[in-house]
Amino acid sequence: MTECLEREQYWHWFHGLPGISQKEKEELLKICPKVKQWYDAAKRGAAGELLVAPYNETEQQKDRKNQMIEVLENQKHRDALNRSYEEARGKGISMVCRESEQYPERLKHIFLPPFMLYYYGKLPDKEKPSLAVIGARNCSVYGEEIAACFSGYLAKAGIQIVSGMARGIDGAAGRAAINEPGYAYAVLGSGVDVCYPKENKLLYTCLQEKGGVISEELPGTAPVSWNFPKRNRIISGLSDAVFVVEARENSGSLITVSYALEQGKEIYAVPGRLYEKLAEGTNRLIQEGAYLVREPEDILHGFSEKFAGVILKKSTKNHCFEKNVLASREKIVYACLSLRPKHIEELQEETGISLPELTSLLFDMEMKQYIKQPLKNYFIIQG
């Protein structure tokens, strides 16, 4: 008698089989698209029956075939995967397989779509637009600020923000978008129940409640380096466009961009100064045809045709100031500030105001929320 399992469990087994690449698995599915059949055949020890050999099979192909049959029929793998499936269910991890209705529509059309997605929270809504915000891990304060400012604004306008929850740009984007429940998602390179990097623990828990944490890796997978480029195809796959904030030449973010281009997504990039390392990647993207982004509206505009009904048009800019509120001395200081963080000493030199007075002015302006201190004693205008 054949046992009857949940559909996801068959896929979990198939997805989790070690030693067979995804490409090979796709080949197997071409021979027989039903995973349940594979499972039952493997259990009976008759996987070989399904694997019909072509006429002119080479010696190598024969060997590989036998290896695969061995893996498929391996009792240990089957037991371990069944156990891990139960464990994942016990942990409250949601799962969707390729055949499931909840499986994101966007992913179906990419190259090598994941067999399974494990997630906490929700999956991105296919009705709503979504944008991947990516960039350097060792980013500048300016980059973090831009990522946060844009993501916060766009999430409010109704765009789902997908990122990698990495250090730097990704994390900043996630943290800003999480303020808008249901608009922040992260795709991890580790198992969905493994928080990496550790310092984003708070973001990780917030995402579970207010957004979604997604991974194709089996639960419990450690954050190993070779999984990260792979997950980038999901980040770009889940989004309608990719927004690159800061990237060095040869940066990992550019891998995501190349996936996105393969998948036919729009690329948006923030320009930077010439010869600045953190801008080399983004500037090159712009040169190669990415959209140059000057303000959040530029991205909104790109989405407006396709998602006309969903996006909230925002006419009022976030950063509009009534300059009159500032005292004249404060205006002098404010004029010296931009989004690039300036240290108090630099300000002192530029304005010529003494340190005690300057600290007092800056303090007032910070309290009035005209400026902020991303790092201690470094000031930027409030975006």
């Binding site: 891990r137 060792n138 980013c139 500048s140 304060v141 250090r167 310092e199 600045e276 390392k277 953190l278 963080p341 240290h343 108090i344 000493e345 630099e346 002192q348 030199e349 340190l355 005690p356 007075e357 600290t359 007092s360 800056l362 303090f363 309290m367 790092l375 201690k376 004693n377 470094y378």
Partner: protein
């Protein structure tokens, strides 16, 4: 017949009276010394015998026994030679006994009868004063040091024969006059001219200079963070030139420590300038705190009333840095060894310098590609308890080319020192009835009493507090620092801008350590 003379042994910072007793009787000709002696004191037997004979005295072949009492304190050092020789000479009747009754002797003898310098003369002379001695005979080289106390007349001698002649009344010698505070001023002014580091030679760095001034005024510990080559070390080296001159009492305190550790050399009879110690980062805990078999004072005591500069703070071994906790808190250090446990003063001002990350350029991301973990691991070498004891943290930036070319003139150390002295005067007056002298030494009660602020400042404090979730310790730290800034301003109350400035020095560290505000 038993003949007694007096000398002294050092126990930490204190000298203890030692009685040197000589007994001469018939028997096998022999010279024997007893009384818990270290080997250098045992060797005095030969030195003393030969020195006496070479000075022209013939010792009859008798059995001589010498006892150094109290016999339960271990005698170390070479300062007993003179007292032993005099005691032998008196026992043989070369010197009348009543001449040596109220006299203290200290000095090392050469084989030819000359008297050499020894360490620890100043505490010995102080002890002589308290024990009621009427005169003290010291090596000529130690004369200036011994005369720092002004109660016992001290006489400096070059040769053993000179001492005998003096005791017999054959020659007249004037006692050395103790140094007066006026002399000290003169010597200090003289020495000041030799100081090479002056703030006016440092280009730019206005903010850092101001921070140094505040640190000097209130005695606050300071940590400078900045990329390599930004001038942290140069700034720190100027610190002594900003501090007020040593007062007479401080000078005696300090000379005492240097005397005990044998650091008063020929060209320096007493310490007149504030010490500046910059140990290498490979230093050991015992070099820093004091130690050795006899628990000698370490660097932190040698820069008592001065500056301890720790360059490349992150390179120091954690166990070395952690040992600084006690002296930073109590201004004293207790050194315990097998032989002894002593407490030495260690009221130093800590100036430390470090890079923000392994490459040194964070947060300039165009140059720095250190990952956040790397930075955290690097800065994490400095523990929270040590950071908590540092009042001020500043960032130092490299000077731009244009400024180097422009050669703007800036304030001299002299000018800044005047401001510091003014601020310190205000503090001195404030703490007249208290035991402390500086704002940084204020406890909780003093902070509550003296750090009064106006309405506006109170609002600011409230806001800062709300925003940062301060600990109480930080609260008092900010107030103390604001008090110093207000003193520099000559303001009796802490005003808003004093507080905001103090706040700007307060938790730069948050950026590097992610610590509570």
């Amino acid at each position: 017949m038993v003949c007694k003379t007096y000398s002294a042994v050092l126990c930490g910072m204190e000298a203890v009276k030692v009685q040197v007793e000589t007994d001469v009787r018939s028997g096998l000709p022999q010279l024997q010394m007893v009384g818990a002696l270290a080997s250098e004191v045992k060797e005095a037997r030969e030195r003393v015998r030969v020195a006496i004979e070479n000075s022209g005295f013939r010792l009859p072949p008798k059995h001589i026994t010498i006892n150094l009492s109290p016999a339960d304190i271990r005698k170390e050092g070479t300062s007993f030679d003179l007292a032993t020789a005099i005691s032998i000479l008196a026992a043989f009747g070369f010197i009348p006994e009543e001449q040596i009754q109220n006299c203290m002797f200290a000095g090392e003898l050469s084989l030819d009868g000359t008297i050499n310098k020894v360490s620890g003369i100043l505490p010995m002379a102080k002890m002589a004063a308290t024990e009621g001695f009427q005169k003290m005979i010291v090596p000529a080289g130690n004369l200036g040091e011994a005369a720092l106390q002004n109660e016992v007349p001290v006489y400096g001698m070059n040769r053993l024969t000179e001492v005998v002649d003096f005791l017999l009344g054959n020659i007249n010698k004037e006692a050395e006059l103790p140094m007066s505070p006026i002399d000290l001023k003169k010597i200090q002014n003289e020495k000041k001219k030799q100081i090479e580091c002056d703030l006016k030679d440092i280009i730019g760095q206005t903010a850092a200079k101001r921070a140094l001034m505040i640190a000097a005024a209130g005695g606050h510990h300071l940590l400078m963070i900045g990329p390599p080559g930004s001038g942290k070390t140069a700034l720190a080296k100027c610190m002594p030139s900003l501090l007020p001159d040593l007062s007479f009492e401080e000078m005696i305190d300090l000379s005492n420590i240097y005397s005990v550790s044998g650091k008063l050399k020929n060209d320096m009879e007493y310490v007149v300038m504030r010490p500046f110690q910059a140990p290498h980062h490979a230093t050991t805990p015992s070099a820093l705190l004091g130690g050795g078999r006899n628990a000698n004072p370490g660097l932190v005591s040698l820069c008592h009333h001065g500056v301890l500069f720790l360059d490349e703070l992150t390179e120091f071994k954690p166990e070395v840095l952690e040992t600084l906790r006690q002296p930073l808190e109590d201004h004293t250090v207790t050194v315990s060894r097998l032989q002894a446990t002593y407490t030495y003063p260690a009221a130093f001002q800590l100036i430390a310098a470090m890079n923000p990350c392994p490459c040194g350029h964070f947060p300039d991301r165009t140059k720095c590609n250190c990952s956040p973990q790397q930075i955290r691991r690097y800065t994490g070498k400095i523990s929270q308890p040590i950071l908590d004891r540092i009042d001020m943290m500043i960032e130092v930036f490299p000077v731009e080319y244009e400024k180097i070319r422009k050669k703007e003139s800036s304030e001299t150390s002299e000018c800044i020192r005047e401001k510091v002295v003014r601020a310190r005067k205000i503090q001195k007056k404030r703490f007249e009835k208290k035991k402390i002298q500086l704002n940084s030494e204020m406890g909780k009660r003093e902070t509550e009493e003296f750090c009064t602020f106006d309405k506006e400042a109170e609002q600011v404090l409230h806001l800062i507090f709300q925003k940062n979730e301060f600990s109480t310790r930080r609260y008092y730290r900010i107030l103390k620092l604001a008090r110093t800034i207000a003193d520099l301003d000559g303001s009796p109350e802490i005003r808003k801008h004093h507080l905001t400035e103090a706040y700007s020095y307060c938790n730069v560290g948050k950026k590097y350590w992610r610590m509570e505000a």
